[in-house]
Symmetry: C4
Subunit: 486 residues, 4 copies
């Protein structure tokens, strides 16, 4: 029996909460407490059409996978479907949508893009306000976000001259898999916010360029679709957000292995989600821009826990993320359910790097989640530097990667010189696909390649093994370097 | 016999000085030299109605307590009372008053307040100019004020991962009293300038949240009223400004003990008052804003001592504050008149911290009076760091607290990691109550709690004891951090 | 025989150069090469009335003393005198003169002056452009000027509490002479540019306040007049610019001793004069402001030596200043002609400080001439710090003074803590007298006294001997401190 | 047979590419791949008149020397020559040309030029946009460009006083050749972009002043002409860009020796050319200024290798520059074909400085190509400082020079104090000749001389040998110094 809008609208609170997605009606009452993004964002759309909020963030099959058959209540009435469509057409476009449309027309041609900052500039113009806020935000005052990048400015080169470098090969192996550059895609998810094809743009761009992509548990494209889009020779890694529900967690890992992902990057720096204030404020800023802000009312409800739920993009802490992972339990469990190599994503200090070698994992990704989690976490490059200075044998025992703040070929080279096997980039891939789709991703990789190869030659390095610690120095002054955009 | 305005006006200089407060006439001639705020501010109102200047700063009973019966001359005549009222009504509101009224209407709702800086932003808009100047001012060029805060930016975290933290308890004990957070209210007085209920807002907000309030000798609400407003289980501490008059000093301490305050924080960094230039200039700025500034006259009188008296908010140095306190005399005296634990508020270097352990006090509060006293005093966090590096056994001998520049949960955690038992916040409480009253105080505490708990979890800390020195590093570069508002 | 303007105008080049000063005609042809300010500035006025350029810089009797009777050619004709006067009256006032007049009327009253920066602000408004340029200029890019001041910001205090300081005495002895503060006037000459009474304002202000003034060889008021204006009990020191002409040099020193000056500060950092670009550019800036700039002409003459001569305020290097002074010759010579103590003004490094102790002088003034001479000279406070760290016995062997960048009471205290016997201030005295005359000088000293005494008390220091090295720390970060005005 | 424009226009792609230069037609099809500036810039003018692009960059004889007789196809028809001329006259002048013309008229007279920054200011105004972009550009974000200069700000002086310096001689010997200052011209080529007489302005200005010029392989004036313009006593050095073609390379070196150049500076830091983004963007900026920018077209071709070719000023990597030079092969080869001393230009670290001593070259020029090559290369002054601190015997084994960021006499002195035999300046010479031609070069040298001599005297140094390491200190804070213009 098809549903009427009127009937659906009766179910709009926590006691009974229905939503319409693509003209289908769902009962999400029970799901409220399981929603990784928290209940409040769903309740905001309770009893109403939630398609526009659902689509840019979720894989198409997400709702099917999470609801039981009885919770899929059936279709909307034809007359109401037409009604919704008519509403959609009548709806005036927002100022932000018009701005984006205009900006898309004025994008510079790709051959005028010289570096990753140029791509980011375009993306900042063409992204919807809320998507930009989500992509660009860091924790709290974004000090960590800035410091991640600034750390690279303190590392200068001791370039060597008179070394034959007409042949220069920047390729390497990561966990044994060939990579054309010592670079991989790290944690670039929710890509549909920036482009309808979402993460697939990355998959395709990386396939051509022979770069490895790490695919997130919360990718906005179904993992299977991403795996299917990969070339036969293409390597994909899997970024695991471990659920507290061990059954769910096991299923996710085993599915990833089955789909052909080659390694599990276990996320350890995001067991709870911190406040990314830029992101939380985004709807208020937009509201003010559109002139739709409500008069302020005294006595508005105010709960800290609500706060994190106002943004649908947060994976919240409704016991969905496992905050009780431990070295003793979690790693043996993971080892027991998969043969894939295990890498800890989000190691933030020397002590944990050493501990990881003792626990026998295959690698660690030094990362503070791109400055999106613990504010004042030491920049990953500084952690790498401390390992190099104090415990260089770590590099012999497992592979060490770094992400956070990498924007230039010289940044990549510095990390490799200090001992990293490869480096991850996240936001730059999201900016590239938002600005130009798949071709933007390809362009971005080709820029990195040009920068890496040119700088390697000028350093006197003909291949990755020539990039040694002697080529870099951490100086005791502060170069006037990059200005992190805010 | 009721007095006429005409008669009162005859007594307007240091030889005979009367003032009217709430329609009562007082002879303050003898009191001039005893006024903690200095004689000049009283003389400014000599022979006139001083109610508007008196009320926002003084406890209601202050004048009664300080004058003898013969100095309370009696009431004003009915006709003159009506005359004053009429004058009050005729008086045009100042631009500053109109600005404040408008700003109060435009305050954002509480659920749009994300952090303490947001609250401060609101307070800066809704506070009268002179109140803001008094609250926000630091000594001289306010370098110390800024450096207090900047010191926190140089401390970064070595976050630990894979530690179970779904349960996370930020509570602690301060001098044996339970506190829901390692945070207390330090030196936030004269609160009536920001809200009619003054310090009571703090008392009530802290009562609900289980946070300890330190109440100042010069609170703008009678101490008895504050003590009465506390919940039965609520802990209050007392901040003592020791008078040179030993009888007065003894009476104050013993009254505090009788009222149920649980500790005496002896103020040692404010034996004389330095020039807070922002505060001194405030009436001139206001004058210019209102368009009431006089033509400048050559030969205006100019005495340095006058200068400090132009602001009624200063406790001046008319021998009221004891500038001759000493380790040998003052501590034994205090010990002899009270059983309460003694904490020195305003220790500014390692040497005095060590000396305090030898003198057997129960605690020290590392503080430079929020940057309001000695310009170029080492930031309290840096003093704490030096104790940790050079004399860590201090932490075993007494409780160490820190205040100055703390605005984020991460700031609190850094101090605790370095060995502080708890930290004090002052101005943020004043801003919170000025912006939103008691609910502002509650909001502020809940923000701190959220920030502290989230950051503890991301650090791998499940309770206060997990916050150890290994989790922090003082880095050798200068992160681009907070900008202290001016 | 009185001269006609027409006749005088015939003598306007280096072959025969006459000038008119106060209606008297002088033949300065031979004097051209002896003019401390160089010949070109005189030639600019050759054959014409030079009174307006002569008066603000020179002691009234300078021309008499430097010319022989035969070079004093006699008076101008009455008719020409009247002509000059009429010209003077007809002359339109410049924009700069009008600006100054207006600014003088708008000066704030003295009781609104809180600190030395306030006085400087007033002075910058009321000084003629060229005078301000001369007073404020530093060498080349003025880096040294800025760094002199910034050095103080890196020194923070370890304040001691609980020390009796109700009595606090900031007085000291300098070379055995009593001084109410550890402060003296250093190198503040050419004061007539800022006030008609020139250096006399300082003499009188210091007399009342019991502060020692150092009087320059090139003071704009005759030394005898200054000495005569001093109180009987007042101490004056003499700043010697040693002439290459040993007869002249001897005469100057012996006259100073006869006039009652109590010490000879031998200037050793200004044997040649560097380019103070702000000062050199001043007439061009003024020209542009007044709209009197000439069309630019290709092929203008250009000699580096000319350059320094364009400003009449420079003491140039026409062999007038002795660039061949040496430890072996100059000090014994000076000792042989005077009994006064000898202080080297302009010592700029530890090595020379040590050498000075070996040569037996009574004192050294660590100074780089207020940033007006060698660009990139180490800030004097840093030199003092190095002496304290590396050769503290220097302080036992002679008195050490510091000048450069001192603007606050805390600056004074820091230098004293590090071992200086007293500090010198120069520009602040010039700004004070330019802004308010003698009363400005008094005000400035009273501000310093208030700041010094308050800060001493808050440091726990009851007198100068309590100011020890333990009270200060040179920190390893850069406080965000004073902004040096440009 | 004279050619028609129509016929020439048929040959405009890589298969058959003709260009017209000064009315002569050339077949450059085969030369495309040998063009040091890459093929794409030639192709842009394929089939058309290329004179305006060719002339400002190339020696007049370049095309003759590089093409065989059969590739010189003969003249254009008279009628077409007149047609081209008419086109040239009809062509409207660009906004940039008009700006430049206006700016040339408004240049300040030379006697208002006080320092090298003044000259640069003029040059920035009078240079065509593209020339300025080429001269001023650094690699990528120009961090290295800025840091080269900032390094000097961290070196302060320990000035010595009381040393006889009335005689002060700044002259020295460089590789045994007399130089009036410890300064030479380093890498200032392509000078015709700034002045029609190109590098000849430098040759003449240096001849008069007795300063040594290093002349580049790619000078825009034929080397023979430059050699011929030198005074008999004048010393010239040769900057070699070694070709991969050993015959070409040998010929170039031997011609240089024959022309009388006295040393070979082998360029080792520019084996490939990095992206100078400011330069690459220059035509786009100009296009926007002129209003001639095309509508952006999606799908524009985009190849990284193209990118470097868009600017004709780059020497590209078409195997023309030898990227396989080595210590073992290249130095013996060079030694075998010339008797001239060999200096390595572009040594960037201590390790290579030591290696150079072992290889027996006569000197090294510490340089990172003026910040135009490897971004984040250690500033040359810092490399010099490391040699002084860690391997001072290097200075005994060969001559060490420095270039990069030198703009003041104090900069020169600092490098000499640290052990450099002399310093090179590049851009300042280009700015000087662009602004004022030969007289600008002379002026620039005279400013440097004045600054060097004045500062030497104030340091207590009478000659170059007095400039010792004890006179300088690398401080541990960051002086607020020069702002590098962007």
């Amino acid at each position: 029996m098809p549903w009427s809008l009127e009937e659906v609208f009766k179910h709009r609170d926590a006691k009974s909460c229905w939503v319409i997605i693509k003209n289908e009606v769902y009962d999400v009452t029970e799901f409220l407490s399981k929603h990784p993004g928290g209940p409040s964002i769903i309740l905001k759309y309770g009893g109403r059409d939630a398609t526009s909020a659902y689509e840019p963030i979720h894989p198409a099959d997400a709702i099917q996978q999470n609801l039981s058959p009885s919770q899929r209540l059936g279709s909307l009435r034809e007359v109401d479907i037409r009604d919704l469509e008519a509403q959609g057409k009548r709806r005036e476009r927002t100022k932000d949508e018009m701005r984006v449309e205009q900006a898309m027309k004025q994008r510079p041609p790709l051959n005028r893009i010289l570096n990753l900052a140029d791509i980011e500039d375009v993306a900042r113009k063409v992204l919807p306000h809320s998507a930009l806020a989500f992509f660009s935000a860091g924790a709290e005052d974004e000090l960590t976000l800035r410091e991640n990048a600034r750390a690279f400015d303190r590392i200068l080169f001791h370039a060597r001259v008179m070394r034959p470098v007409s042949k220069c090969d920047p390729s390497t192996k990561i966990l044994g898999y060939h990579s054309s550059l010592p670079v991989f895609v790290s944690g670039a998810s929710t890509a549909k916010l920036g482009h309808p094809l979402g993460e697939l743009n990355i998959t395709r761009g990386c396939g051509t360029a022979n770069i490895i992509q790490m695919v997130c548990t919360y990718a906005s494209i179904p993992r299977g679709e991403i795996a299917a889009a990969a070339l036969p020779s293409q390597t994909l890694f899997f970024q695991l957000y471990k659920s507290t529900d061990i059954t769910v967690a096991t299923k996710v890992v085993q599915e990833a292995e089955r789909l052909g992902f080659k390694a599990i990057f276990l996320t350890v720096d995001a067991i709870v989600i911190t406040t990314r204030e830029r992101d939380v404020r985004s709807p208020w800023v937009l509201e003010a821009q559109e002139g739709t802000s409500q008069h302020y009312v005294e006595g508005d409800s105010d709960e800290a826990t609500n706060l994190l739920g106002t943004s649908s993009l947060h994976v919240n802490q409704n016991n969905i993320l496992d905050a009780d992972m431990s070295w003793q339990v979690t790693i043996p469990w993971l080892r027991s359910i998969t043969k894939l190599p295990i890498i800890l994503k989000g190691v933030q200090c020397l002590e944990d790097a050493v501990l990881a070698t003792q626990m026998g994992v295959e690698g660690i990704l030094l990362s503070n989640h791109g400055g999106r989690q613990l504010e004042y976490s030491l920049p990953p490059l500084e952690v790498l530097y401390r390992i190099r200075q104090q415990k260089p044998d770590v590099f012999d025992k497992l592979e060490v990667y770094v992400d956070g703040g990498i924007r230039r070929g010289t940044d990549v080279i510095k990390a490799i010189c200090l001992g990293a096997k490869a480096v991850g980039l996240g936001r730059p891939f999201l900016y590239a696909l938002s600005a130009y789709g798949e071709v933007g991703v390809s362009k971005m990789i080709s820029i990195l390649e040009r920068e890496i190869v040119t700088s390697m030659r000028l350093l006197g390095a003909g291949n990755i093994n020539d990039l040694t610690p002697e080529l870099v120095e951490r100086v005791d002054w502060e170069p006037v370097g990059r200005q992190y955009k805010l």
